[in-house]
C-alpha cells in the first residue's frame, strides 16, 4: 500500500510536469504579449518590462526558472507580502527576520500590485468553499434519492427519484443559475443575488472564519445550482449499485440467518453499495471545482474563476499557469485520495 501511494505520488508529479509543459508551450504560442495595448507602448518600455519579468530570456530558460520558483524552497529576509518578486504561497518563519518561502507562481502582469500567490491565497479558498458546499449538496440530495429509489425499485419512489435525477443532469448551472436568481433573488427577495459571505484571512488558509447566516445565505443558491447536476449522478450510481448488491448471495445469507431488515440494509447492503459512489467522488469534486468558475460568473462570486478567462485574454502567463496547474492538481490529488480510500474500503482490492 505504501509503495502504491509512493508510486502514484511520483506519477502525479510527472503528470503535473507534463501539464505545466504543455500549458507553457500553448500559452506562449498564442500570438501577442502581455503588454500589448490599444495604444502601443514605446519599445523601450516593453523591453524594460520584458527584462523585469524575465520575458527576454529564451523559452526553455523561462520554463526552468518557473519550475525553480515553484519547486525549490528558499530562505529570505524579506517579510511575506512586502515584495512582488520575492513572494510565495507558503511562508514559514524560521528565526527572527528569516522566512522559508516555498512555491512562487510569480507576479500577475495584469494587476501589477498582486502576485499569483496573492490570488491563490485570497480567491482560491472561495472557489474551494463553493466546491465543497456543492459536493455536500450533491451528497445530501443524491444519496438519499438513490437509496430510496434502489430500495423501492419500480415504485412511485423509484420513478420520482430518477425523475429528479434526470432533471438534475438536464438542467445545467447556466440554466438553473439565472432561474434561481430570478425566483429567490429578484421575485421573492429571500437570498442575495451576488457576492460571497467570507473574506480573507481564512481559518487554516481556506475555511471561512464563521459559518453565520450571512455566509449560508450567500452560499445556498450557487451551491445548489452547481451541486444539483452531480447529485443526479450520485443518485443514479447509488441506485444502480444498491440494486446490484441486494441481489448478492451474502444479502440472502444475512436475511436467511434472520437478521432484521434494517440491519441487512444498513450494515450489509449500504456499506458495499457505497464503494462505486466513493470512486466517483474524486472526478466529481474535480469537476465541481472546475465548474465553480461558471457559477462564479453567474452569481458574481469573487473566486478564482474570473481570473481563468481574463488571464488568457490578457496573456497573463503566470496567472494562466497558476490556475491551470491548480485545477490539474485538484484533479490528480482527488483521484489519488479516491484510490487510497477505495483500497481501504474494499479489502478485495490490493494494489501491487
Amino acid at each position: 500500500m505504501t509503495r502504491f501511494v509512493i508510486r502514484r505520488t511520483m506519477w502525479m508529479f510527472l503528470v503535473l510536469l507534463v501539464v505545466s509543459g504543455v500549458t507553457f508551450v500553448l500559452e506562449h504560442s498564442v500570438p501577442g504579449g502581455p503588454f500589448d495595448q490599444e495604444k502601443a507602448l514605446p519599445q523601450e518600455i516593453i523591453d524594460n518590462l520584458n527584462e523585469r519579468y524575465h520575458l527576454d530570456e529564451s523559452l526553455p530558460q523561462q520554463y526552468l526558472r518557473f519550475l525553480n520558483d515553484v519547486l525549490v524552497p528558499h530562505v529570505s529576509t524579506v517579510p511575506p507580502g512586502n515584495s512582488l518578486q520575492d513572494s510565495a504561497v507558503f511562508n514559514f518563519e524560521i528565526s527572527d527576520g528569516r522566512w522559508l518561502k516555498w512555491m512562487n507562481f510569480g507576479p500577475s502582469y495584469a494587476s501589477r500590485s498582486r502576485t499569483v500567490n496573492d490570488i491563490i491565497r485570497d480567491q482560491l479558498p472561495i472557489s474551494a468553499q463553493l466546491g465543497v458546499f456543492a459536493l455536500l449538496v450533491a451528497l445530501v440530495v443524491g444519496m438519499p434519492l438513490g437509496i430510496m429509489a434502489g430500495l423501492r425499485q419500480n415504485t412511485v419512489w423509484d420513478y420520482m427519484g430518477m425523475g429528479v435525477a434526470v432533471f438534475g443532469v438536464s438542467v445545467p448551472v447556466i440554466v438553473l443559475g439565472p432561474v434561481l436568481v430570478w425566483i429567490f433573488g429578484v421575485s421573492l427577495k429571500w437570498l442575495p443575488t451576488n457576492g460571497w459571505g467570507a473574506q480573507p484571512p481564512y481559518l487554516l488558509g481556506f475555511l471561512p472564519r464563521e459559518l453565520d447566516a450571512n455566509f449560508i445565505k450567500h452560499a445556498i443558491m450557487p451551491s445548489v445550482a452547481l451541486g444539483l447536476g452531480s447529485s443526479a449522478i450520485i443518485a443514479r450510481l447509488t441506485r444502480a449499485s444498491l440494486l446490484q448488491v441486494v441481489r448478492e448471495d451474502y444479502i440472502r445469507t444475512a436475511r436467511a440467518k434472520g437478521l432484521v431488515e434494517r440491519v441487512v440494509i444498513l450494515r450489509h447492503a449500504m456499506k458495499n453499495s457505497l464503494i462505486p459512489v466513493v470512486t466517483i467522488l474524486g472526478p466529481l469534486f474535480a469537476a465541481l471545482v472546475t465548474g465553480t468558475f461558471v457559477t462564479e460568473l453567474i452569481f458574481g462570486i469573487p473566486g478564482m474563476g474570473k481570473y481563468f478567462v481574463t488571464s488568457i485574454t490578457n496573456r497573463d502567463y503566470p496567472v494562466i499557469m497558476g490556475t491551470i496547474l491548480l485545477y490539474a492538481m485538484f484533479l490528480v490529488v482527488a483521484n489519488l485520495v479516491v484510490d487510497v480510500v477505495y483500497a481501504w474500503l474494499d479489502p478485495r482490492i490490493r494494489y501491487s
Binding site: V171, F330, L331
Partner: protein
C-alpha cells in the same frame, strides 16, 4: 406436486421461443425495446422536432437572427406581464415579438429557433469526432497491446489530468487569436475562413474533439481487449485475415453497442460544453445565436427583463432532457444488462 398453473407456465415457454425464432436480429429487438420505453420515445420525438426546427429555421422564424430594430430593444409582448408581473410599469410593450426582443431589438423567438442549429450541430458532430479519433486510438492500443498500448494509455492518462473545460478554453483562445489574421493560402487561412463561414463552430468542434476522444479511447481499448482473445478472432487470424480486416470486420461490429451508448449519453455534455463556451464569450461568433450566449446576455438584465435569460434557458434544458431521455432509452434497449447504471 405440479399444478395447472405450472403446466400453463411451462407451456408458454415454447411459444416464446417460437416468437424469438421468427428471425429477429438483435437490432430489431433493441428497436422494439426502445419504442416501448415512453421516456425514450418522448426524447426521440423532441429530438426530431428540434432537428426540424434547426433545418427549417428560416421558414419558421418570424425574423432573421441578426435583424436589429434598435428602437424595439427590450420590448416585451403583453402576455408576458401576466407571467412576470414584476415587469409591469417599466417594460415597453410590443406584441410584434412573441417572446420579446433583446437588448439591441432582435427577436428572441427567432434567435432561439436559430440557436438550435448550433446546439444540434454540436450534438451530432461532437460524437462523430470523438468516435473517429477515440475508436481508432483505442482499438490500435488494445489490439496491438504490449509497449505500444502502455505508451498510448499513459498519454491518455496525462490528458485526463487536464481540466477539460479549461483546456478547451485555452485551445479556443489559441485558435481565435492565432488564426485571426492568417496568410491567404495557408492551411490556417483555410481553417479560419471555414470557421467564419460556420459562425465560429469549427473551432468549437475541434475543441470538443480534442478533449472528448479520451473517454472513448479508454472504453474502446477495454472492449477490444475483451474480445481480442475470442475464438472467432483467432479463427480469422488462422485463415490469414489482415489486422485491418480483423479489426473492422470482426472486432468493431462486436463492440459497437456499448460505444454507441456511451456516445449518446455523452451528447448532453457536448451541448453543455458549447453552451458554456458561448456563455463566457469564447463560443460562436456574434451575431450567430447560441443559447449559451443568449443566457449570458440575458443574465445581465435578469433583474429587469427575466424573459431574455429564461426562454433560452428553457430551450437548452428541453434539449438536454430530450437527449438524456433518448440516451437512457438507447442504453436500456441496446444493453438491457446496463439498465440504470449511468
Amino acid at each position: 406436486m405440479a399444478t395447472e398453473a405450472d403446466f400453463l407456465e411451462a407451456g408458454s415457454e415454447p411459444r416464446l421461443e417460437q416468437e424469438a425464432r421468427k428471425g429477429q436480429s438483435p437490432w430489431v429487438d433493441s428497436y422494439r425495446r426502445l419504442v416501448s420505453n415512453r421516456a425514450a420515445v418522448i426524447g426521440g420525438v423532441l429530438v426530431i422536432i428540434l432537428v426540424l426546427m434547426a433545418v427549417f429555421a428560416p421558414l419558421i422564424a418570424p425574423r432573421t437572427f441578426s435583424e436589429q430594430v434598435l428602437v424595439d430593444n427590450n420590448k416585451v409582448p403583453g402576455w408576458i406581464l401576466s407571467v412576470f408581473p414584476s415587469m409591469k410599469g417599466y417594460a415597453p410593450i410590443s406584441n410584434d415579438y412573441l417572446l420579446g426582443a433583446d437588448y439591441v431589438g432582435r427577436d428572441l423567438l427567432s434567435r432561439i429557433i436559430y440557436g438550435a442549429r448550433v446546439s444540434l450541430a454540436v450534438a451530432f458532430v461532437g460524437p462523430l469526432i470523438s468516435m473517429l479519433v477515440g475508436v481508432t486510438y483505442g482499438s490500435i492500443s488494445g489490439y496491438f497491446g504490449g509497449r505500444l498500448d502502455n505508451l498510448m494509455m499513459r498519454i491518455v492518462d496525462v490528458m485526463y489530468a487536464f481540466p477539460s473545460l479549461l483546456f478547451i478554453i485555452l485551445l479556443m483562445a489559441f485558435f481565435r487569436s492565432t488564426l485571426a489574421k492568417p496568410e491567404p493560402g495557408s492551411f490556417s487561412y483555410v481553417l479560419s475562413s471555414l470557421d467564419t463561414k460556420m459562425g465560429g463552430m469549427l473551432f468549437i468542434f475541434i475543441g470538443i474533439g480534442a478533449t472528448a476522444w479520451q473517454t472513448m479511447a479508454r472504453l474502446t481499448r477495454g472492449q477490444v481487449l475483451s474480445v481480442r482473445e475470442k475464438e472467432y478472432v483467432e479463427a480469422a487470424h488462422a485463415i490469414g485475415a489482415g489486422n485491418l480486416r480483423i479489426m473492422t470486420k470482426h472486432i468493431l461490429p462486436n463492440i459497437v453497442g456499448p460505444l454507441v451508448v456511451a456516445e449518446t449519453l455523452a451528447i448532453p455534455t457536448y451541448i453543455l460544453t458549447e453552451a458554456f463556451l458561448s456563455f463566457i464569450g469564447l463560443g460562436v461568433n456574434p451575431p450567430t445565436p447560441s443559447w449559451g450566449a443568449m443566457i449570458s446576455d440575458g443574465s445581465q438584465v435578469v433583474r429587469s427583463y427575466p424573459n431574455q435569460a429564461l426562454f433560452p434557458a428553457v430551450a437548452l434544458a428541453i434539449t438536454m432532457f430530450a437527449f438524456n431521455f433518448l440516451g437512457d432509452g438507447l442504453r436500456d434497449a441496446l444493453d438491457p444488462r446496463l439498465r440504470g447504471t449511468h
